[in-house]
């Protein structure tokens, strides 16, 4: 339960960071999750989910408030993908996910070096 609470807290902090312009916040949050959470098999997916949420929820809010379809199509065009608006959406979510995931992985790996006996 405490682990889940920690993840939720990390997600909230990450989302707040992203909303404030600190787009790298999921990486830091993932790093913290990975370092604090002794089970890597829990920490790394949790970090990925935190990263995904931190980037996807503001994007969802953007869609609800303004409609993001035209922006997605425009970004796809700029990227050379015609009007396939799904591509920048997937890319955006992937960036968030990777930031959280790699942060957690690195944190977990650092923990295993610092505390080898209690890391799993």
């Amino acid at each position: 339960m405490r682990a889940l609470a920690g993840v939720i807290l990390a997600a909230i902090v990450s989302i707040a960071g992203v909303l404030a312009g600190a787009w790298w916040a999921p990486f830091v949050a993932g790093l913290a999750i990975g370092f604090v959470q002794p089970r890597a098999r829990f920490a790394v997916p949790a970090g990925a989910i935190v990263g995904l949420l931190a980037w996807a929820l503001p994007l969802a809010a953007l869609q609800i408030q303004y409609g993001a379809g035209s922006a997605a199509e425009s970004l796809a065009a700029i990227m050379g993908f015609g009007h396939l608006g799904a591509i920048p959406i997937v890319l955006t979510c992937t960036v968030g996910l990777l930031l959280g995931l790699t942060g957690a992985w690195l944190g977990s790996a650092a923990r295993s070096l610092a505390y080898p006996a209690i890391s799993r």
């Binding site: 980037w55 303004y66 993001a68 790996a109 295993s112």
Partner: protein
């Protein structure tokens, strides 16, 4: 340990891609962050079309801006200062990236944000010296221009600060990973310089030199004569005052000798530059009809400047109301002036006059005087100046340029060549435009234009008293001696010594027949006593002008609706001359039948239009390509087709036995070559479009595209089939055509109606409905009313932006 190393490596890769980008990808973190990255274009698109209250630093009093449902902005300010400030804000709000691109182009700073792909452009611009000229212009600016420039820059910077604070910078900044630097008044003058360069910096004398070298002096002088071989539809037929000594040209002494200009390595280097940096001929139309010929009883005026059609467009539509200005029309984002439009008493539009304003000089050097050149009997040292060009992802480029008394040295291969360009003369064009915006009659309009140097434009005029005028304002450089259409000796004898006096430049006011027109044609007859350029490439062929004159000439009264029909007219005047001759030359066939029943209109559903245009290209090729190949001409024939086409027109109609048709000792005449070309035409089109000529519609081969300014293909409009060609009033050269009427305006002073349209939208944001919302209307030949601020506020759907100090 292995896990830690793997984690570290993967983390480093992800963070590198997120912070710095990889390959063509931008830095993914800041670029795609949904809150502050490129996604903010969605919020910008939604917010910009809503009423809002804004606080702008520097405002003296509240300003009210009404936005029509299409984004046309009506600025009502209580002081002139606030008018310019609000204009700067509105331009930046909707076009900041475009403005930044334009100033970077002129300043030679594109490589800093796009990398080495822009280095050639940057080198060229720094050598040419738009920045230096703009700085000199600003140092000598009038109080009116200073007020406008400073307040405008404040408005732009207000928007930059606001956008940075609220994470609302245009998406392209996020994707390219840079922030705009503050705007300055000099930046506005650079944007104006970009336009001057695009419209009149030419390489024609270099082309002529290459032609003379390969074709020989005889053919070159015959085919590229100083005076045209055909009637030119001049709007100012004379009589002309006798030539007097040239008026002095404003000296270049305002420009510090320590500042640098230079150009590229002559023709090849100029030809290799990105499109748009060198003038390649512009097509524009304007005309005016006096009250005596108007159905409404008031003067009529129409104007459609033809430019590269882009999204966002070069134009931003607005109206101004302040103590000194009551103007409606279009402005260029980055500049605090209404360039084309109307005020309460007068209306105006412009076309490119296309006289020669670029001259090349061969500097005399010898080994006994290294680093010097001979000028007026003395050896002078070049000014050597160095520039640094920051390059994204690469080392900073160092550039050293040389400056002679004539201007920048553009090549040192063979013989050192420098270029004298009127656009390098510091001018007060901004003050002229503001003077036009405030003018209330022709005298004030004409007086304002005395200060206009470059590019030379045909300014058409109409007013609320039924008067019309047309004046080709700008510098017409005169040389002391020599052949200015070729590179000239730089030893002083052939230098530019002045310009045609203002009172003697082409102009007309209230002509007896009540009509005036310009379409980039030569404005005067062969009797005009001054040199203004050759037919070789300076002036456009007269076909659009002839067609416009043809439509204006009948004695019937004309209306605004007639003006609109003329602006989208697709009748090819050259076809109307040549096709009857062709029909006499060729045997009967289905293709001939199509031509025989054709009305010479280049409509998308016309197969005859396709046959005609293909034939004309084949006729040019059949006549000239043998010479081109046998003499190894280094200039693409297509580059001089305008001149060759006028020759071919004249020979076909009046000299069918000309020696040009008898290449290789044959006994061919124009008729024989036409038959040959027509056979080739049918063969080509059969292969390309099938065996049934009735299906060879013009729309299949001729399309128009409106290109995204940042060259993002997915953000283009089109291509889609469109009528017209290079010679029709509805100008649509090239395949696909990306050049044409950038703004159509029709004014009827009798009815009090002002109508206009441009192919684009007010916003550069591709997610905005204002990105390309006007294009369909423009394509369909429709117009929108140019409303006053009051009328716009009362119209349905208008939004109000309240700007507070």
């Amino acid at each position: 340990m292995i896990n830690a190393i793997a984690a570290l490596i993967v983390c480093a890769a992800v963070l590198y891609a997120a912070f710095a980008g990889a390959g063509p990808l931008p830095a993914l973190g800041p670029a795609f962050n949904p809150v502050t990255g490129a996604w903010t274009m969605a919020a910008d698109a939604a917010n910009s079309s809503q009423s809002q209250t804004l606080r702008l630093a520097g405002l003296e009093k509240p300003v009210n801006v009404t936005l029509e449902p299409d984004g046309t902005s009506h600025i009502v300010a209580q002081t002139d200062h606030d008018l310019f400030l609000a204009t700067g804000y509105m331009h930046a709000r909707f076009r900041l990236f475009q403005m930044d691109l334009l100033r970077r182009q002129g300043e030679g700073r594109l490589s800093e944000v796009v990398g080495k792909a822009a280095l050639d452009s940057d080198r060229f611009e720094l050598q040419l010296g738009l920045l230096r000229t703009a700085q000199a212009e600003w140092n000598a600016a009038s109080s009116r221009s200073r007020l406008a420039g400073i307040a405008y820059a404040q408005g732009v910077n207000d928007r930059i600060s606001e956008a940075e604070t609220n994470h609302q910078l245009p998406a392209m900044f996020a994707l390219l990973g840079y922030q705009p630097k503050p705007w300055t008044p000099v930046d506005s003058l650079i944007v104006k310089g970009d336009m001057t360069q695009t419209l009149n910096f030419t390489d024609t004398p270099l082309v002529m030199a290459l032609l003379e070298k390969s074709l020989g002096a005889d053919l070159t002088s015959q085919w590229f004569a100083t005076l045209p071989p055909n009637p030119q539809s001049p709007y100012d037929p004379g009589p002309y005052p006798p030539a007097v000594a040239p008026a002095p040209i404003a000296t270049l002494s305002q420009v510090s000798d320590s500042e640098a200009v230079a150009a590229a390595d002559a023709y090849q280097r100029l030809a290799a530059l990105p499109a748009g940096l060198i003038a390649t001929g512009g097509d524009s139309n304007n005309w005016a009809v006096a009250e005596s010929r108007s159905a409404s009883g008031g003067a009529l005026m129409a104007g459609d400047p033809h430019l590269h059609l882009t999204l966002p467009a070069i134009w931003y539509q607005l109206s101004w109301d302040s103590p000194s200005y009551h103007v409606s029309g279009v402005s260029i984002p980055g500049t605090p002036a209404v360039l084309i439009g109307h005020n309460q008493h007068i209306s105006w539009s412009l076309t490119d006059a296309q006289n020669q304003q670029t001259f090349f000089y061969l500097e005399h050097e010898d080994s006994a005087h290294p680093g010097r050149y001979l000028w007026k009997g003395a050896w002078k040292s070049y000014n050597n100046v160095s520039y640094d060009i920051p390059v994204l992802g690469g080392p900073t480029e160092h550039l050293t340029v040389k400056l002679s008394v004539h201007g920048p040295v553009i090549t040192e291969r063979g013989q050192t060549t420098s270029v004298w360009w009127a656009g390098n003369i510091p001018s007060q064009d901004l003050d002229v435009l503001l003077g036009i915006d405030q003018a209330g009659n022709y005298q004030q309009f004409r007086d304002a234009l005395r200060g206009w140097y470059s590019p030379t434009h045909n300014f058409v005029y109409a007013d609320d008293h039924g008067n019309i005028g047309l004046i080709s304002a700008g510098y017409y450089p005169q040389v002391a001696a020599g052949q200015p259409w070729l590179p000239m000796p730089g030893t002083g004898e052939d230098d530019v010594v002045g310009t045609i006096p203002f009172d003697a430049i082409p102009q007309a006011y209230n002509p007896p027949d009540g009509i005036l027109w310009s379409a980039n044609q030569r404005q005067v007859t062969a009797d005009y006593p001054y040199y203004i350029g050759t037919t070789s490439n300076f002036f456009e062929p007269p076909y659009r002008a002839e067609e416009i004159h043809h439509m204006l000439s009948p004695g019937t009264k004309l209306s605004a609706a007639d003006m609109m029909a003329m602006q989208t007219d697709t009748r090819d005047y050259l076809a109307s001359e040549i096709v009857p001759v062709l029909l006499q030359a060729i045997p009967g066939s289905a293709e001939k039948d199509l031509l025989a029943s054709w009305d010479y209109r280049m409509e998308i559903n016309s197969p005859a239009a396709t046959i005609w245009w293909t034939f004309w290209q084949a006729y040019l090729a059949s006549t000239f390509d043998s010479y081109w190949h046998s003499r190894d001409v280094k200039v693409a024939r297509s580059e001089v087709n305008n001149a060759l086409g006028q020759d071919l027109e004249a020979w076909t109609l009046g000299d069918p036995n000309n020696a040009v048709f008898k290449y290789g000792g044959s006994s061919n005449t124009a008729v024989d070559v036409m038959r040959l070309a027509f056979t080739s035409t049918v063969s080509t089109l059969t292969k390309q479009l099938g065996s049934d000529p009735s299906t060879w519609t013009w729309g299949q081969v001729h399309q128009r595209v409106i290109e995204n300014l940042a060259q993002v293909k997915g953000l283009d409009y089109g291509p889609r089939p469109d009528g017209g060609d290079a010679y029709t009033p509805l100008a649509a050269p090239d395949f696909p055509s990306s050049h044409g009427p950038s703004w159509r305006m029709v004014v009827d002073w009798g009815a009090g109606t002002f109508q206009a349209i441009y192919p684009g939208g007010q916003s550069e944001n591709p997610a905005s409905t204002w990105y390309s919302d006007r294009v369909d209307t423009w394509f369909n030949g429709k117009y929108a009313a140019m409303l006053t601020a009051d009328a716009a506020a009362k119209a349905g759907g208008a939004k109000t932006w309240s700007m507070q100090p």
